[in-house]
Symmetry: C2
Subunit: 369 residues, 2 copies
Amino acid sequence: MGRLAARLWIALSYPLRRLAEYVDTLRKMSAPPHRSRATGRVTLNDVAQAAGVSPITVSRALRGERAVDPELVARVQAAVQRLGYVPDPAARALASRHSSHVAVLIPMLSNALFVDLLEAVQRTLRPAGYQTLIGVTHYDASEEEQLLREQLQHRPAGMLVTGLDRGVATRQLITQSGVPCVHVMETSQVPGVYSVGFSQTEAGAAMTRHLLERGRRRIAFAGAQLDPRVLQRLDGWRHELGQAGLHDPKLEWLNPAPSSLALGGRMFEQIIAMKPAVDAIFFCNDDLAQGALMAALRLRVPVPKRVAVAGFNDLTGSDQMLPALTTVRTPRAEIGSAAAGMLLSLMRGEPVARPGVDLGYELVVRESS
Amino acid sequence: MGRLAARLWIALSYPLRRLAEYVDTLRKMSAPPHRSRATGRVTLNDVAQAAGVSPITVSRALRGERAVDPELVARVQAAVQRLGYVPDPAARALASRHSSHVAVLIPMLSNALFVDLLEAVQRTLRPAGYQTLIGVTHYDASEEEQLLREQLQHRPAGMLVTGLDRGVATRQLITQSGVPCVHVMETSQVPGVYSVGFSQTEAGAAMTRHLLERGRRRIAFAGAQLDPRVLQRLDGWRHELGQAGLHDPKLEWLNPAPSSLALGGRMFEQIIAMKPAVDAIFFCNDDLAQGALMAALRLRVPVPKRVAVAGFNDLTGSDQMLPALTTVRTPRAEIGSAAAGMLLSLMRGEPVARPGVDLGYELVVRESS
DNA sequence: CTGAAAGCGCTTACAG
DNA sequence: CTGAAAGCGCTTACAG
């Protein structure tokens, strides 16, 4: 704009604006009647009017964001009470670009382990106003990635995923989304990775050491599903037996099928039949071990006399078996609470003291070993 | 307005409007630079521009709503592909007043029954573009109501709830929300109530008849949790024994604690100790019965010789017991699929042929009876 | 069959 | 510490 034009504009801009507003008012008076799409819902505006403040102040007062005059806060809260106002999550999500959802990705709901984890997670997240969106991956990497994509569309406020083992593409999906993410069940010291879990490898080694200490020498490892955590337990077993000079690859009994009582029973039968010298079997999960104990009863194989049986996770029922099952108690409820707590901090933008938390495990020696 | 004024207005309204628009343009030219809050996300508008149609047409083409020229649909879809457009659920929810969430209320995740139900529900709903929001009520009516309120704030597109038994307030909450709702596990012929399940009472009666047919006369009923469905099974048991003139209220062994293997074991011990004449025990859930079978092994009580044991639901592991457990197989996966399918119809506004679906049950006679 | 306008109910970015 | 304006990305209601 030239100088003259600029001056002209400055001189005219105010009157023109007022004129525009006036004409606009006239136009609206002649406009068709208000087309209401109101839901009948009490909105933030209603609260603002009732409290005699602006909508932004209500918004800030309710979220506790920035400083708001305590007196206004009180007035707002009174109005909220009186009108029974509940914020609309969709509007909030659209405006803020964050929903109140937390995506939780777990491998399988039929493994009681994850049910316990989930319970603890929800118990922490719900009171904080977050809804959990559960995705079951069925131990399938591509299904996990697919679920992740779907969940991220909903712009979750945070996410919880099981384990650390995933492809580059999936890891990038998580990183690039910018959504705070905590990994559970395993633990890592890699910078920028948040995790709560324990060392599956060490736990596997600890159980193997226990069996060695009991004088067992031919200790088989029976694993199903073969997810990363099972393989880590296998590593622990390998390592301890290697140290003791007792590692025999023929005693690795691996089956990619999902673990179950029935599969455990079958594995037990096979191991007993094909490796008669085996004097202990370490099952990667309690349901397998429970099935093995039932099979032992059926086949009249004395446990632990002829063969010791050990499990992992201390699932419900293991203490009821005959003989009661020796196992490793894993702190999944504690993991769930701690991970949810860490995620809460991340979502609030608070710093997290320890990004990699190791909650340990506990050897539970009962009668079967 | 007087006549003259009206005429004047009509004469002036068009020029005034044009003037307003013009002045508005000038104002905007002098307005501060565009304050962008854009997310970088590909929006429906981008698709519309790329396809050379209006945003509404894109919206309609994507939702398959109303008739859209097939050629335009093709152009829109090509643009969607090219740009990698994904609709924003929050914006959609805000504008349409319906989210793509389905709220699912179940009593307990630690009961494998509901895990199977949930799996089936998700398998049906996910491909249709719905996310399941799981709420665990812990068999607590007030917790259920609380969850319901929270979920309804999110304006779910539909909901699935367990059972039919709830207070007036909660029922009204559901009705007044206008959200389509299907009830699972029980079935009802009440008009306006959608349900998929089976008759718990009949199933309880059927198991009792089976035990009677096997010559049992002193049949105990051992129930835990005491939720409505357990009480219906109890009713079935009462009815059959009453018919046979064999009903003895002292053989009702009821405990409000959650069912578990350990509790089943304790109940078995107590019944055997206090009611030595009992020749059969019908447990309201398989986990109890499994615990009872373990206790029988421990106590060396021969099953079924001395006492028959029966369970309910045919949970995982029941076929692995020693002796294998006689039970009632409940079609929870089928219930989940059918209920989700029915809900899908309701959410689409399609008519539902049969609002009350009975999927039956199956007696599974194994060795324990 | 298609579109321009308005609106859903919040929050962000800017200004004071 | 507070607010007016604009905007988030869709769909509804109306009109043609």
